[in-house]
């Protein structure tokens, strides 16, 4: 009898232990990360959407900084700069290298690969698609904030597509978040018109959703209008381009800085700036870096950098070609390079901060990257007015910029005027990552560089080639830009 009891107790005990462990274990196998947020739980409130949007700006900043590609595409390719010997692998991009964008040793992943920009597109898609599902009450600023966040995402999406279109030509156009990752339809390149149409519709709604209250480091209504002007100009729809330039110039709180305050433009949040990416130093947030703007600089700005081996001095030919007239601006944006044998450096971005007094090797350049500013829009309107047959108005706009620069008013009215508008852009906007796109749009390349033959222009040889070796594996329908198939 006793034995039987003992036996039963054992058995009950055993099953109690088994049952207890089983129950407690079942719960434990459903574990979710505690060290990161993830897709399923992220889209819950406005503060997260705000982080995602800041993430997009930050990704755009990183995308531009990658191998200094922002300046490679906009300035190096336009032959604005000479290259110090440290940049031997950039030399094929300039005139002496025959603008051979195909040969880009160690730079393939930045100049021949656009994947990093698609990450920004995807991020914008998500903000635009997911935010409407989050109740207004979850946004600190209510429906207003929600509208603004979506509007900025739409602006950024348009900005990125338009940028890619100008760098690599026709893009793969995705318009929404992909739903089923295991079933992504293969996609070929969309015609330029479709992409630009998509950009314009995004910008249209962005301009409706945004106002002018935001900081210059975020997109606002003016940025949307200014970018629309650029998109229309790229489309050669100069009527609309002029219209949107008008709205930027007339209806906005913007104003040109005076020549005395000229360098304030790149210090951040100037009255002339329309949109800029924050890259300024503060002790905590690591938004400033050493390697981006410092390409333009030598000593004394960068201590110990005597000689131009590690920098990009201004192409000496430019001085003879377009900076031959005396002006005030030139003295502000150019200085002699230290040990550069007469070469000049660009001095738009010179707020070098040696934040650690004990360490002269560690510094950052604390300037903002201005993406759109009023002077650019004045010159764009000059171009549009010229194309729309309003030569006199075009001269007015051009001379606004010339006057500030301390140049005499321009008076020619024929095609020389158009070329002069282009040259004024080259003077005014040098080192701002946009000249190459202006030269393409204004069809200046064949005039300036003999490498741009009729054939090369016809085959759009000004666009950058794609790294097919990497990208074709990811998209079978991708095609190489025509010119680079054989060059």
């Amino acid at each position: 009898m006793m034995r039987k009891y003992i036996k039963q107790t054992w058995i009950i005990g055993v099953f109690a232990v088994m049952a207890a462990t089983l129950l407690s274990c079942k719960k434990q196998i459903n574990l979710a990360p505690e060290n990161a947020t993830y897709d399923e739980v992220f889209w819950v409130d406005g503060s997260n959407v705000d982080k995602a949007l800041s993430g997009s700006y930050s990704m755009l900043r990183d995308a531009f900084r990658a191998d200094n590609s922002y300046f490679i595409f906009g300035d190096i390719a336009a032959n604005n700069f000479a290259l110090g010997s440290d940049f031997w692998n950039y030399t094929s991009f300039i005139e002496s290298g025959h603008f051979n964008f195909n040969y880009a040793p160690y730079l393939e992943s930045s100049v021949k690969n656009w994947s990093r920009f698609y990450a920004i597109i995807t991020q914008c898609h998500q903000i635009i698609d997911k935010s409407p599902g989050i109740p207004d009450s979850k946004f600190d600023g209510g429906a207003e904030q929600k509208k603004r966040l979506i509007g900025e995402a739409k602006f950024l999406r348009a900005y990125v597509y338009f940028y890619m279109q100008r760098v690599w030509g026709d893009v793969i156009l995705t318009k929404t978040t992909f739903k089923d990752p295991q079933n992504i339809p293969p996609a070929g390149r969309a015609p330029e018109s479709e992409t630009l149409e998509f950009c314009l519709s995004d910008l249209q709604s962005a301009s409706a959703m945004l106002d002018n209250s935001a900081n210059k480091t975020h997109a606002n209504k003016m940025s949307a209008l200014a970018l629309m002007a650029h998109v229309y100009a790229w489309k050669k729809d100069y009527t609309n381009a002029e219209k949107y330039c008008d709205s930027v110039i007339q209806d906005s709180p913007l104003a040109l800085e005076t020549i005395e305050d000229y360098k304030k433009i790149w210090e951040g949040n100037s009255q002339e700036s329309i949109l800029e990416l924050n890259m300024k130093y503060d002790a905590i947030s690591n938004e400033a870096t050493a390697d981006f703007f410092s390409r333009f600089l030598t000593a004394p700005y960068i201590k110990g950098r005597d000689g131009v081996n590690s920098s990009w001095p201004i192409n000496p030919d430019l001085e003879n070609e377009i900076f031959s007239e005396p002006e005030l601006r030139k003295g502000i944006i150019m200085e002699d390079a230290a040990g550069g044998g007469g070469l000049k450096i660009l001095t738009k971005y010179t707020n070098v901060n040696y934040f650690d007094p004990n360490n002269s090797n560690s510094y950052v350049v604390s300037n903002n990257l201005v993406l759109l500013r009023l002077a650019d829009i004045y010159l764009l309107r000059a171009e549009a007015r010229y194309k729309n047959g309003k030569t006199g108005d075009a001269l007015l706009d051009l001379n606004v910029i010339r006057e500030r620069a301390g140049l005499a008013d321009y008076e020619e009215t024929g095609s020389e005027l158009f070329d002069e508008i282009a040259n004024e852009r080259r003077r005014e906007l040098i080192g701002e990552g946009c000249i190459q796109f202006d030269l393409i749009r204004m069809e200046q390349l064949p005039k300036l560089f003999s490498d741009y033959t009729i054939d090369r222009i016809a085959k759009k040889g000004y666009f950058w080639p794609l790294d097919m070796r990497t990208l074709l594996k990811q998209d079978e329908l991708l095609t190489q830009n025509e010119w680079w198939n054989n060059n």
């Binding site: 055993v14 434990q28 990161a36 097919m468």
Partner: protein
């Protein structure tokens, strides 16, 4: 003696027997009976030779009657089946016998006369009447009477049955059993005898590896187990090397980011005293880079069982696909305490270094090249370092290699105590292992403690507790990781002319006392198992373990050592803790008089791992007196902590069944739910089935004298692997510290591959057919296995459309990887049993062919970069994992006219996408795509350029051969290991030749070390004046075009990686026990061991084993030291 036999009458159950025997053995009578009746005879009892002799006289008796007469007063009983007589030991309860008991005592000795402790002595046929020998090998017991027999057994020895008779005192000398067939192995949760197991397993006893000078046991299995491929790609003490069972199934997607190259190949699951340990998981929470299982003292190991086929590994379900290693540590023995001391010490010796030239010879060699190739203008501009041989700054002959290497010392101290009483046995051991590295400022030491306790709670319940703790400290030297163990890259060492300052010497000699790099790994674990016999045949067992691995690295570097003058300190603390709990219910039953034996086990288990990390970093530490993260300015401080959890719930059923001990069947079914998979795809099931047939037990083979045992086995089953990422199905976001305009940012981790919420198990199926053939009284034992392992749908990252923002998708890729091969192990006893000299040979050979069976997207091939981006790794159907594709180097273009000319353009063949036109002296690379340009890739879409698949770094044949000689009290063991059919690349030499080129001008050429060129017939313009000249090596002009021609993306540096290595020689001598006894000791053994003695190889690398798992010899990895040790082992 008279024997009269007559065929019995007809009738099946009523077989008649006629016998007339006088005082003959039971066996003989039974044989006679079976002959008359055509019945089979089956012995469940081990040995009936000690049965009472029989006198019997019957005529036409029934079979049953005759047998009953035979078994009167025997310690055996019989039962009848339709066709079989089964003889088994009589089951008599102790009570029945107590009255008749007589006391006996005795002593059990091993073959050398040493007492065997804890040998089992039991009375034949009396269940429960058993004792163990004490520390002197002695036993006392009571047996039924003079007719009783006792059975003495000990693991690794042949059992002996001795009739008690009139003797009261016995001295029993045991003979070792070579086949260790009766040893039990644990398959999953089931104990099976090696004889009856149907799995492909191989057992290594602790004795085979004890006292060998190595920090960790795994490397000691090299060459001892067929099908296990161990390659020591680093000799750094305390680091982990590769250990694959039956081929690699892992593809590491970014070799350059791997911190531990051992992770690039698949590793087995370790079960240490019942605790499952995933070495890959542990590696994921490792800051010190120390081998997480090196905390186990080699001398604590009783046995290691390597389980290779699915029959054994499927029981471990989701983690067993790459094989399972089951380790049992030594347990306590009964009797009064015995103490064993063991000590060895010796030297670790610097191996041969790469041949190089120094001083005047170097200057001569460099000037030779300059004079040979330089133009007049170039000759006018020779660096001062070369011309100014009188300048004290430049006229040195520093052997840079010599600076970093040295000889070291290895010592090991072991103490263990073992004792036991009726209610408890224990064994305690303490160990200290210390190995100096042969690279300055490196080394490894370990303190470890282990206690094994067995408790007898009640007659029906037992419990045990295993406690272990260890501390490892590793000095990592001044190098920068596995490929660069010394502070200066091996392939770009400075010229010997450069003078070193005293501070440099201090630094390189590691005497820089301000530098701090503490790497400490602490391991602690508790395991407990309680067994309860519930009721007939049922047993419940509760197993649980708690273990923690604390892995800490603390560093400080003063500002003098930094190029920018910034000091830093960091502290990286990791805790990996695991809990494991299992409920095991087993049922054991023999039916039908023991003809059917059944064992069933049901298991429910739960595993939980928790990984925590705390990391702090600070630079610009205020003063060099502070060696921790303290007082750094705010902006220079970085800190983070991490938490990862993983859990697994499992249910397992195991069945083993045999009929007559001859027809064997095992099956298992496991189902696992892991937290590392998607919400609805957590569960995976892993069935396995195996059968075996001991053919030699069949009647028709019974009389084949030379066949001791023949067993045929077959198995098939599934097992799996888990992803190393604990949160694999989650698309996690990045939340970097960087802000945008002051606001914090978040974005999906686009750099990581996109993952899917339906990630699930990848399964490996494995089929195995094997045979165990033991011949000539076990003098020639052969075990052979053929297998085919197929890894399906591994979780792997694959290219993904960039327009999603992601460029890789990580999912269960529909591809498969095949490993097919053979394991062969042969053991021979080369001399007769009676010979005083005994010589045994043990050959283990594994053949494995690794290939990719299929790839997704219509078998589209893909490429990856090798480590350091030197060559392309091509993954294509039919090729192995990590196979290379390179350009084919076909020699040298001796004359310009030898170089092909494009008939269309009339231009000579170019190099590097048209950038360099061919010249005489250039290497001849095959223009595979026929575009008159040779290069490794193209810009125009075609991926492969002139690349073709070339080498395979996966060895085809691996194994070892072990010879052991014993003569009297001497023993000598020689282990040779080998690897055949493997390709390797001498990246080191490649990089050294690349130094000839003026990457940074002629000054760099002067400043860099060159290989010894004295025996190289390189192309020169002078030699090429002879039109018949055939250069053995391309032009070595320091002024030549540089298109990386010496980097190993061509086959120029490919070599055969075959080697045969005399790995270990052990010499031992057991002192005369009588002599030792006078000192009050039980035994003394002295021994000497030489490790890593000599290598036979065809390649030019210093050691053909010392190459990465991907086959590259970079020259920067830690050399494998030679070790010579002397040891002493004392038992008292």
């Amino acid at each position: 003696m008279l024997a009269f036999l007559q065929a019995g009458a007809s009738g099946y159950a009523q077989k008649k027997v006629t016998l007339s025997e006088n005082n003959v053995s039971l066996k003989k009578v039974l044989k006679a009976i079976t002959k008359q009746t055509n019945y089979d005879l089956v012995f469940i009892a081990t040995d009936i030779s000690n049965a009472k002799p029989i006198t019997i006289k019957v005529h036409d008796a029934t079979l049953d009657d005759a047998l009953r007469l035979c078994f009167v007063n025997q310690p055996f009983e019989y039962s009848l089946d339709t066709k079989t007589i089964i003889v088994s030991e009589k089951k008599v309860t102790l009570l029945d016998e107590v009255l008749k008991a007589i006391s006996i005592s005795g002593r059990v000795l091993d073959e050398t006369g040493q007492p065997l402790i804890a040998a089992s002595v039991r009375e034949l046929g009396v269940t429960g009447n058993a004792v163990q020998t004490n520390s002197k090998g002695e036993f006392n017991m009571s047996v039924a009477g003079a007719e009783s027999s006792i059975v003495v057994s000990f693991i690794g020895y042949n059992s002996q049955t001795i009739k008690v008779g009139s003797e009261k005192s016995f001295t029993i000398k045991m003979q070792p059993n070579e086949t260790i067939l009766k040893d039990a192995v644990i398959i999953g949760y089931q104990k099976q005898s090696l004889r009856k197991t149907t799995s492909a397993v191989q057992m290594i006893t602790g004795k085979q590896i004890e006292n060998l000078p190595a920090p960790s046991f795994e490397s000691l299995l090299q060459g001892r187990v067929a099908g296990v491929n161990i390659q020591n790609f680093t000799g750094e003490p305390g680091a982990r090397n590769t250990f694959t069972i039956r081929g690699n199934t892992t593809i590491s997607t970014d070799l350059n980011s791997e911190i531990d190259l051992a992770n690039t190949l698949s590793s087995p699951l370790y079960i240490i005293d019942g605790i499952p340990i995933s070495i890959t998981d542990l590696a994921g929470s490792n800051a010190t880079g120390s081998n997480a299982i090196a905390g186990i003292n080699v001398n604590d190991i009783e046995s290691i069982v390597v389980q290779k086929d699915a029959a054994a590994t499927a029981v471990w379900g989701s983690r067993g696909a790459n094989g399972v290693i089951v380790i049992k540590t030594k347990k306590g023995l009964s009797g009064s305490p015995i103490v064993r001391l063991s000590y060895y010490t010796g030297v670790t010796q610097r191996p041969e270094l790469q041949r190089t030239v120094a001083g005047a010879e170097e200057r001569r060699q460099k000037m030779g090249l300059i004079n040979e190739y330089g133009t007049f203008a170039q000759l006018a501009n020779i660096p001062q370092m070369l011309t100014d041989s009188l300048n004290p700054s430049y006229n040195n002959a520093t052997d840079w290699q010599d600076l970093f290497y040295k000889s070291g010392r290895v010592s090991n101290y072991d103490v263990n105590i073992s004792a036991g009483t009726d209610i408890m046995n224990y064994r305690l051991s303490v160990n200290y292992y210390d190995e100096d590295g042969i690279v300055r400022n490196t080394g490894f030491n370990r303190y470890s403690m282990r206690g094994n306790f067995d408790f007898k709670l009640s007659p029906k319940a037992t419990s045990n507790l295993v406690v272990s703790a260890s501390r490892m400290n590793r000095k990592r030297g001044l190098g920068r990781g596995i490929d660069q163990i010394v502070p200066i890259s091996a392939s770009s060492m400075p010229a010997s002319f450069v003078k070193l300052a005293d501070a440099d010497y201090d630094f390189y000699y590691g005497q820089y006392d301000k530098l701090r790099d503490d790497n400490q790994t602490d391991q602690i674990s508790f395991y407990s198992q309680t067994d309860v016999d519930l009721f007939k045949g049922f047993r419940y067992s509760l197993q649980g373990s708690v273990s923690a691995l604390l892995d800490n690295r603390d560093r400080f570097q003063p500002k003098e050592l930094d190029a920018n003058g910034v000091s830093f300190a960091e502290s990286d603390h990791n805790i990996n803790s695991s809990y494991y709990l299992a409920n095991v219910l087993s049922y054991n039953k023999s039916f039908d008089e023991g003809k059917h034996n059944l064992n069933l086990v049901g298991i429910q288990s739960f595993d939980f791992t928790n990984v925590k990390r705390t990391y702090a970093y600070g630079s610009n530490i205020p003063t060099d007196d502070i060696h921790v993260v303290q007082g750094s300015p705010q902006r220079d401080v970085f800190g983070s902590s991490n938490l990862k959890k993983s859990a697994m719930l499992s249910f397992t059923g195991q069945l083993s069944y045999d009929y007559l001990g001859r027809y064997l069947l095992s099956a298992s079914y496991r189902t696992d739910a892991s937290s590392r998979f998607g919400k609805d795809t957590k569960w995976g099931s892993f069935p396995a089935v195996s059968v075996g047939w001991i053919a030699s037990d069949e009647t028709f083979l019974k009389d084949v004298k030379w066949l001791s045992q023949l067993k045929l086995r077959g198995s098939y089953g599934l097992s799996g692997t888990q992803p190393t990422d604990f949160y694999a199905p989650f698309n996690v976001w990045d939340t970097p510290q960087t802000t945008y305009d002051g606001s914090s940012v978040a974005m999906p981790s686009f750099k990581k591959p996109l993952t899917l919420p339906n990630l699930t198990w990848n399964k490996s199926s494995q089929g195995n057919i094997g045979a165990d053939i033991y011949l000539f009284d076990n003098r020639l034992n052969v075990t052979v296995d053929f297998y085919r392992k197929e890894t399906k749908n591994p979780i792997f990252e694959f290219d993904f459309p960039f327009y999603t923002g992601y460029t890789k998708l990580s999912y269960n890729v529909p591809m498969n990887i095949l490993n097919e091969g053979m394991d062969l192990s042969i053991q021979t006893r080369n001399l007769g049993k009676e010979s005083p000299l005994q010589w045994t040979t043990n050959l283990n050979l594994g053949y494995n062919k690794n290939r990719i069976g299929s790839l997704p997207f219509g078998n589209r091939s893909f490429s990856m970069s090798s480590r350091d981006f030197n060559q392309n790794l091509l993954f294509t159907v039919g090729s192995p994992i990590y196979g290379w594709s390179q350009m084919l180097y076909q020699g040298v273009y001796n004359q310009l006219t030898d170089i092909p000319v494009n008939p269309i353009t009339g231009k000579v063949l170019t190099y590097f996408k048209g950038n360099y036109a061919g010249k005489a002296g250039f290497p001849n690379w095959k223009d595979v795509n026929g575009d008159y340009d040779v290069w490794s890739d193209e810009d125009k879409g075609a991926q492969d350029g002139d690349l073709v698949p070339t080498g395979d770094p996966n060895p085809r044949f691996t194994g070892g051969i072990y010879n052991e000689f014993t003569w009297k009290r001497f023993s000598l063991g020689v282990l040779g290991i080998f690897t055949f059919k493997r390709d390797i690349i001498n990246t080191f030499l490649s990089n050294e030749y690349a130094n000839v080129f003026n990457f940074g001008g002629i000054a760099n050429f002067a400043n860099s070390r060159l290989p010894d060129l004295s025996k190289v017939d390189y192309w020169t313009p002078t030699k090429a004046l002879d039109p018949n000249y055939k250069a053995a090596f391309p032009s070595l002009s320091p002024y030549s075009d540089n298109f990386y021609q010496f980097l190993p993306f061509s086959t120029m540096w490919n070599e055969k990686g075959d080697y045969f290595k005399i790995k270990t020689i052990t010499v031992g001598y057991q002192l005369d026990p009588k002599l030792v006894g006078r000192l009050g000791l039980k035994g003394v053994r002295v021994y000497g061991i030489m490790d890593n003695i000599m290598t036979f190889q065809s390649s030019n690398v210093p050691d053909a084993e010392l190459v990465t798992p991907q086959g590259e010899y970079s020259g920067g990895s830690y050399p494998l030291p030679k070790k010579v040790t002397l040891g002493l082992e004392v038992t008292f």
